[in-house]
């Protein structure tokens, strides 16, 4: 520590590696005072002028603002407010080209000065030494001060360090050619600069304050010396002129001999560096409550007739400054913002002056010649010799060209301060710095992408976990519910039967729902479902009627029995004519009679039915001699027991229903296939009547009601939508075909009936039908969409079909479909259907048992 100060006092300094001595060109402006320029027509104030975050706008177009009034407020620590540089009206807030090499637009406040330059109320602080640290830092933050040397790092962050500071270094080197802004500022406002330094001293409490200044600014040195005479802590260090002395790390090295390692902040070494311009701004802010609204800008270059340093209000368009300094109109425009070594070309002279703008360079054509053609690197090594960051510029260049970001990072590309020394000395005219800039931006971008990718990965995985969890929870819930139900069922109450059937139906429904969710049932049209539902009921009724297995518990049953009785009576009449009794019929009767009966009527009816059946059998035998075995008839007596009239009616009705279904189906290919599948299934059925039913119907299509039409339109719309969505994946067709197959695979005889019979019912209740169809269409559309993703649908459908065929009584499968169909219909229908299903199932079960028994007995 002591040695550092000793050395400085002796005027001996360290040296940083490399460095160059480009022509200084400072004479253009160094002998002229800072001029105040006229007020521009309008001011453009980008809301972000520094590193960090933009503040939040607190003005709106049309507002009148006073000089020094804040236009944005800070919401995060890294934000810095901007202020109105003069009084006037906010014309607009819009995207405007900003001082950035990209020439991109960013949000800016456009201020129209009123020329009165009216200040907001200011609080002049007579004696800042009475203020505490935090107040001072706050004042700096509120004044919107950001590093004025180059990068524009928010000053209040930089000075608000917790670290113990040994050296506060004031950077007055101004090493870059052409620029004299700091020089002039020190000459004209030395007192203010020193005040600012003292304020920093109070905040940071460093052991020593070092002002690093190059020996090419004698007048500024004199002015500062004069000011710091009675202030021992401040050491003025006059260092030899060399580019880039003004670099942060380089100046630290020169003054203290310390190397700042890569990726380490100087404050961790006990060093804080501030620019002289910043010191001046701090003094202004703290003492006279003047926010950062203007700065010294060197407007220079041999293309100008009057190059000079000017006090420019922030937001002044460059064009205005150029006019003030008499930039010839005919000049081929080439304006550089910043110095010749580290600046960048401006795409447009409407770019505003911002907090970091220290120089506008308008070179004549001979000053900056057109780029020499870049040639291959000759490995002369001069670049490495001059590099102040001790990098290997030629290696960096190769890797930059190869876009090898890994190597670039390894070679510490990010330590490059873009000083341009290497490019300056390169005999091959390789624009080395530009390669580095490109690579740096690319690596930065890649890092952002990597972060984003990592985030996406995490989110993706989190989502997967969540879905898994949900699924498990759902399964758990279902399992619990099922267990509860089973427990209830096994409790052995009187309603056990009822319960059982209800549970079975519910189970079937759940199953069907699941299937539907995964797109299995996607294709089953509403008609189909409904018909199956109705069919199940009808069959159950018919069976009951035929075999008269009395349940005796529901009113429905009674009705059915009555109906059956009537039917049977008719059959009796018919039968009476024939007077023929088969053995098997007798057996049937016997079997039936063994069952306990509740009513006399029933008994009679049963006998009659048996007779009728026998008759019908005979008839059937005549009609279809090659067909049905006696067992079959025994099992499904209802078909045959129905009189000719009934059968005809049923057939017609079925035909109508079928025709309707067909018409609906015609809209979409897949539906056609389905229908065909059904048709196949029907034709496979041994019962010829059904086949007829299918052929017959088309005549009847004309009878379709208005409701039907509406329903069809709705269905078509829904289907079309679903199709569109499904169009992305080819699996739909497959699924449909699978469905069709499934239907055809169903060998069960009863199924065919199921398809046809129920149609009567669906066609009779037009309103219900309509509702159901719409609902079905919607359901289908949904199911289709869902199904679109899953290839496994086909398999599932087949599985379902198999399940059905395996079920000898068919009841369960039907119940499945039925339930599925009904779940999608309106709540009322749903309920009814469910009840009906449960009833039907209970009946059917009983019947099945009975039939088995019959078979055994026979």
């Amino acid at each position: 520590m002591e040695t550092v100060i000793e050395r400085i006092e002796q005027g001996r300094f360290w040296q940083f590696h490399g460095g160059i001595h480009p022509p200084e060109m400072k004479f253009l402006t160094t002998n002229k005072p800072i001029r105040t320029v006229s007020l521009p027509q309008r001011l453009v104030l980008p809301i972000q002028q520094h590193i960090g975050e933009a503040g939040e706008l607190i003005v709106k177009p049309g507002d009148y603002v006073l000089k020094g009034q804040p236009l944005t407020k800070t919401t995060v620590p890294l934000a810095v407010p901007i202020h109105a540089p003069t009084s006037g009206t906010i014309a607009s807030i819009e995207n405007h080209i900003i001082a950035h090499p990209s020439g991109l637009n960013e949000m800016s406040v456009i201020l129209m000065p009123d020329g009165e330059d009216r200040w907001r109320e200011r609080h002049i602080v007579e004696n800042y030494s009475q203020l505490d640290k935090n107040t001072l830092v706050e004042k700096i933050a509120n004044a919107g001060i950001a590093g004025m040397g180059g990068a524009g790092f928010p000053t209040h962050i930089k000075v608000n360090t917790k670290a113990k500071i040994d050296f506060l270094i004031i950077n007055a080197a101004e090493c870059e050619p052409y620029i004299t802004a700091d020089d002039l500022l020190m000459r004209e406002h030395a007192a203010s600069v020193i005040e600012g330094i003292k304020i920093l001293d109070k905040i940071l409490e460093p052991a020593f304050i070092l002002i690093g200044i190059e020996d090419n600014k004698p007048e500024a040195i004199d002015a500062l010396n004069h000011e710091i005479k009675q202030f021992d802590k401040i050491k003025l260090c006059v260092v030899p002129t060399k580019y880039p002395t003004g670099g942060e790390k380089q100046l630290i090295k020169i003054l203290t001999g310390k190397e700042v390692p890569s990726g380490v902040l100087p404050s961790s070494l006990g060093i804080v560096m501030q620019n002289v311009g910043t010191c001046h701004a701090i003094a202004e802010a703290v003492i006279s409550d003047t926010p950062l609204i203007k700065r010294v800008v060197t407007v220079t270059g041999q293309a100008l007739e009057k190059p000079q340093n000017v006090w420019a209000l922030l937001g002044t368009p460059i064009e205005h400054l150029l006019q003030e300094c008499q930039y010839p109109q005919q000049q081929k425009r080439h304006i550089i913002m910043g110095g010749p070594m580290m600046g960048f070309s401006l795409p447009n002279t409407q770019v505003p002056v911002v907090k970091t703008t220290n120089c506008i360079l308008a070179p004549s054509e001979k000053e900056i010649p057109d780029a020499n053609q870049e040639i291959e690197c000759i490995r002369c090594g001069q670049c490495a010799e001059v590099c102040p960051a001790q990098l290997l510029p030629q290696e960096l260049q190769w890797h930059a060209k190869a876009k090898d970001s890994e190597q670039l990072t390894k070679l510490n590309l990010f330590d490059c301060i873009e000083c341009g020394a290497c490019a300056y000395v390169c005999p091959s005219h390789i624009p080395l710095v530009h390669y580095y800039r490109v690579s740096k931006a690319e690596i930065r971008q890649q890092k952002l992408l990597d972060i984003k990718a990592e985030k996406a990965k995490q989110r993706f995985e989190a989502r997967k976990a969540r879905l898994e969890r949900d699924k498990k929870a759902r399964e758990e819930k279902h399992k619990k519910a099922a267990e509860a139900r089973r427990a209830r069922m096994n409790s052995g109450t009187e309603e056990a039967n009822k319960e059982k059937s209800a549970v079975a139906a519910a189970l079937a429904r759940v199953q069907a729902k699941k299937a539907q969710q995964s797109g299995v049932q996607a294709n089953t049209t509403n008609d189909d479902k409904k018909s199956q539902v109705a069919d199940a009921i009808a069959r159950a009724k018919a069976k009951k009627a035929g075999q008269s297995a009395p349940n005796g518990d529901a009113g429905d049953d009674k009705k059915q029995q009555v109906a059956a009785a009537i039917a049977r009576a008719k059959a009796k009449k018919l039968a009476a004519k024939e007077q023929a009794n088969d053995d098997s019929a007798e057996e049937n009767i016997n079997a039936v009679e063994t069952k306990p009966t509740s009513a006399q009527d029933d008994k009679k009816a049963r006998v009659a039915a048996a007779v009728a059946r026998a008759k019908a059998k005979k008839l059937a035998a005549q009609e279809q001699p090659s067909d049905v075995g006696t067992d079959d008839t025994g099992k499904s007596p209802e078909t045959i027991s129905s009189t000719a009239e009934d059968a005809k009616k049923a057939r017609i009705a079925a035909a109508v229903a079928k025709a309707k279904a067909k018409k609906l189906a015609a809209n979409t290919e897949s539906d056609d296939q389905r229908t065909e599948g059904e048709a196949e299934a029907s034709t496979k059925d041994k019962d010829d009547v059904m086949a007829e039913a299918i052929v017959e119907p088309p005549q009847e299509t004309s009878t379709s009601t208005q409701d039907d039409k509406k329903a069809r339109i709705a269905a078509a719309v829904a289907k079309a939508k679903a199709k569109k969505l499904a169009a992305n994946t080819g699996s739909d067709d497959q699924r449909t075909e699978g469905e069709a197959e499934a239907s055809t695979k169903d060998k069960a005889e009863v199924t065919a009936e199921a398809v046809v019979e129920p149609m009567q019912e669906t066609s009779t209740s037009a309103q219900d039908d309509k509702k159901a169809r719409i609902a079905a269409a919607v359901a289908k559309a949904k199911a289709k969409k869902q199904a679109a993703n899953a290839d496994t649908d086909v398999k599932q459908v087949e599985g379902e079909a198999k399940a059905s065929t395996k079920d000898k009584t068919n009841v369960t499968a039907e119940a499945d479909v039925e339930a599925a169909g009904e779940t999608s219909t309106s709540a009322q229908d749903d309920k009814k259907a469910r009840i009906a299903a449960a009833v039907a199932k209970a009946k059917a079960k009983k019947l099945a048992e009975k039939a088995q028994k019959d078979n055994q007995t026979s």
Partner: protein, 184 residues
């Protein structure tokens, strides 16, 4: 006898060293990244499924097991090259069946058209969409990977993919645009 002793001694020594080596291999085991993990780290994590796998990790696993390395469209040629380097194979051209336009995009919901059906939420692999039934939905642009998966399920076609706008933060220096500005 001496032969036996020699054999015994040599045998013992070899046993001892064998044990030592075995112990060392367990104790100082180097936890290498499995190949799939390394590949996964290279993939862009867009989770778009364009590779034919339901996400980047499954594709990484598949590549580790011999799947072609040129199926990740969002990654583009850079990713192919990196995977090729990692696996020690020759880089190959992007699979022709895949779209090669990998300009970064984010999804955008035209909010006045949204009917709140939540379909897009179900499709998004990274949960970048917020909204609920019958409410307007919107996309968190920062989280969106631009995978395109939410566009198709939308029944009212109100999601569109927009290129990420260029700002000073993601702007890239263009070598061709930089005039060489040194002085002598």
């Amino acid at each position: 006898m001496t032969v036996l002793i020699a054999i015994l001694v040599v045998g013992l020594i070899s046993l001892a060293f064998g044990a030592l080596l075995g112990f060392a291999s367990v104790k100082f085991k180097v936890e290498g990244d499995p190949l799939a993990e390394q590949i996964d780290a290279i993939l862009p994590q867009t989770q778009c499924g364009q590779c034919g796998y339901p996400g980047c990790k499954p594709y990484a696993d598949a590549v580790a097991n011999g799947e072609a390395i040129n199926k990740c469209a969002p990654g583009g040629d850079d990713t192919i090259k990196k995977i090729a380097d990692l696996m020690g194979v020759e880089p190959i051209a992007m699979d022709e069946a895949h779209e090669t336009d990998n300009t970064p995009k984010v999804a955008f919901i035209i909010e006045e058209d949204c009917i709140g059906c939540t379909k897009c939420i179900q499709a998004c692999p990274v949960d970048a969409i917020i909204g609920t039934t019958k409410q307007m939905h919107t996309i968190i642009a920062d989280e969106c990977t631009g995978c395109d998966l939410c566009v198709a399920p939308c029944p009212v076609d109100c999601i569109e993919m927009r290129p990420i706008p260029q700002t000073t933060r993601n702007w890239q220096w263009d070598l061709a645009n930089i005039p060489v500005t040194q002085i002598d």
